[in-house]
């Protein structure tokens, strides 16, 4: 499969799955491209050749995407069974042709959808021609990686609704929500504060909220803490204790975080060198560190379980305990998190989210004049940057739009009353 994607990239057909089960025997074989048994059909290339397709596609774009709905167009596809049209084979890269011949595969032509579907309905219809993963339409041409599913769509909508509601409540100011998708926990929800501080755009504030949380849950503890001996087992102990321990003594953690960093440095340097002098092994140093932390931490440490095994996790610390994730349990910036924004981020915010290593950025209202993720610029397509998140443009559906307006009205009406209504 790797070979195929380098020899015969799908190019404009990236939205299609490469392999489908043989149509007659619909039971799903393992989707391998081991060209041995019949049972799978593998997409090879376009019948007319790519250049023609590009022209064709341009025409389609010119005609507007609406016309494409019925007119899924014809491309070539191949099925393995027996040798086939020698002319067609000759056009394939020799190594591929050889592999096909060896597997006595049969070439045939299939119709496939030319474009990525814009709606779920289109997806359902077009997928009958050729299977495609469902992806939330984003306007982004290149979306690689895991396909978006219906569940993902629901997840997006759930949190976007939050962002939009908060934005409506804040008089239309932009709102950023950062979510840990593993536990579906909201880690930060921030409203634009640029009237107070010119650079406190919603995304900037949200990123800082997450950082503040990290500092509190895993207080800066000098160099030994910063050092991630990711594979060392003793690190796991260190991590297991920290969240519980510190979640219970917020004030301590807070003080710790608020202290000027230079003090930390001095203390840490002193501590580490003294440990050095005692000739302790790294493991012992870790334990020593732990003890120190427990002693210095807070009075609450007495009741806190030293091993960190038992006891309910603090409400916000639970997210980091999610299993099945292999970075050492301390989060690194916003790695793996998703950001939801009511309005498309500007260049500064888009880059801030990129620096923070978010996994996905979902925004609702596009900005043709300022947007950095599709509206005006496409920062996420800069290949040279060291991190890439996926971008989704999730425009309002009509009923949502009405819902938001209604909510806004309600809130205005209820301003005098004691409680606002939830939804």
């Amino acid at each position: 499969m790797k070979h195929l994607s380098s020899e015969l990239p799908l190019g404009p057909l990236q939205h299609l799955k490469r392999v489908r089960p043989h149509q007659q025997q619909s039971q799903r074989q393992q989707q391998q491209l081991q060209l041995q048994q019949g049972g799978v059909e593998v997409l090879l290339c376009l019948k007319q050749g790519l250049q023609e397709l590009e022209q064709q596609q341009q025409q389609h774009h010119a005609n507007g995407p609406a016309q494409d709905a019925a007119g899924a167009t014809t491309e070539q596809q191949q099925q393995q069974q027996q040798a086939a049209d020698p002319q067609a084979l000759a056009q394939l890269p020799p190594s591929t042709a050889r592999a096909l011949a060896a597997a006595s595969a049969q070439l045939l032509v299939a119709r496939v959808p030319l474009h990525q579907p814009d709606t779920r309905q289109q997806w359902a219809e077009w997928s009958q021609l050729w299977p495609m993963p469902w992806r939330v339409p984003s306007g982004a041409d290149e979306q690689d990686g895991a396909p978006a599913t219906a569940a993902e769509q629901a997840y997006f909508e759930q949190h976007m609704a939050k962002a939009l509601a908060a934005s409506a409540a804040a008089g239309g100011r932009n709102v950023a929500v950062i979510v840990d998708p593993r536990s579906n926990t909201v880690l930060a929800q921030a409203v634009d504060c640029s009237s107070r501080h010119s650079l406190d755009h919603a995304a900037m504030v949200a990123v800082e909220v997450v950082a503040a949380r990290d500092r509190q849950l895993w207080p800066f503890n000098g160099f030994a803490h910063l050092g991630r001996h990711a594979d060392a087992p003793d690190d796991a102990v260190d991590v297991a204790v920290a969240p519980h321990h510190h979640a219970r003594c917020d004030s301590t953690a807070g003080e710790d975080a608020a202290r000027p960093p230079k003090k930390h440095k001095a203390a840490a340097a002193g501590a580490s060198s003294s440990r050095h002098q005692q000739g302790l092994e790294p493991q012992q140093q870790q334990q020593l560190l732990l003890q120190e932390r427990q002693q210095n931490g807070a009075p609450a440490a007495g009741t806190s379980n030293g091993t960190g095994q038992a006891g309910p996790a603090g409400s916000s610390s639970s997210s980091s305990d999610a299993p099945g994730f292999d970075w050492s349990a301390k989060p690194y910036l916003c790695t793996g998190y998703d950001a939801f924004l009511a309005a498309e981020p500007c260049t500064m915010c888009a880059m801030a989210l990129l620096h923070s290593r978010l996994a996905r950025v979902v925004y609702c209202k596009q900005s043709r004049s300022h947007g950095a993720l599709g509206g005006r610029y496409r920062l996420h397509e800069q290949k040279t940057l060291n991190h890439h998140y996926k971008v989704y443009h999730l425009p309002l559906r009509q009923q949502q739009e009405e819902g938001v307006a209604e909510q806004q009205q309600q809130q205005q009406q209820q301003q005098g009353q004691a409680q606002g209504q939830g939804q």
């Binding site: 239309g172 050095h276 000739g279 910036l333 500007c346």
Partner: protein
């Protein structure tokens, strides 16, 4: 702003920049301020932060300075420029118009990244001088020319188009680029303690501290045996 006092410790190695960029004639004043920025970067090195520093200058006076603080803050956006901006805003009651960024020059050891260039555009900075280019995130031409295209604002959901688009700003690089890069090399040789998967072994005591510690230690115990 305690770091700013030692003013003229700098202006020594004047010719480096001129050699690297013979087309740019750096004034003594520019060299002086960039040396102050380098001093900031050295502070960062001592803190085991990525050594990038900057100063903001208005009317020939330093009104703000900062260095990268991403490790301590656990916030990847705490770059030198934004650290300095925060201090300056705090000094001016949070009012950016009182800072008068359009009258300010920024001296920063490494080309402002795309985010910082956006921030500088939003603030309306007058002029940027930087040391070395930044071929990973450079926002003043290396990767994205934010210094030309400016940065809009995403402050409102209702009408994202409404806000004014921040203007571009003049940016010139090459002033003490070698020194700036040398600091980064020093830092990465010792290993970045905050990297999620360090590329190299992180030294517990970086080279630039070893000398100091050896003096302090006064050999109380021998570890070799």
């Amino acid at each position: 702003m305690a770091h700013l006092t030692s003013g003229s410790s700098a202006a020594a190695s004047t010719d480096t920049a001129a050699v690297e960029h013979p087309e740019v004639q750096w004034t003594a004043e520019q060299q002086h301020f960039m040396q102050l920025a380098i001093q900031q970067a050295k502070e960062a090195l001592q803190d085991r932060e990525v050594p990038i520093g900057c100063v903001f200058v208005r009317d020939g006076q330093v009104i703000g300075s900062g260095y990268n603080m991403t490790n301590h803050s656990r916030n990847a956006t705490r770059h030198a420029e934004l650290e300095a901006v925060d201090k300056m805003l705090a000094d001016h009651g949070g009012d950016a118009s009182k800072v008068q960024f359009h009258r300010c020059q920024l001296y920063v050891t490494i080309e402002p990244c795309i985010m910082c260039a956006g921030a500088l555009s939003l603030l309306g900075i007058g002029q940027v001088f930087f040391g070395a280019g930044n071929d990973k995130f450079g926002g003043c031409g290396s990767i994205v020319p934010v210094h030309q295209q400016g940065c809009g604002s995403c402050t409102h959901h209702d009408d994202p188009q409404a806000a004014a688009h921040g203007a571009g700003f003049p940016a010139v690089g090459g002033l003490f680029a070698k020194e700036a890069i040398q600091l980064l090399q020093d830092f990465y040789i010792a290993g970045n303690p905050a990297a999620p998967k360090p590329h190299r072994k992180v030294m517990e005591v970086p080279p630039w501290q070893q000398a100091q510690e050896q003096q302090q230690r006064q050999q109380p115990m021998e570890r070799d045996a």
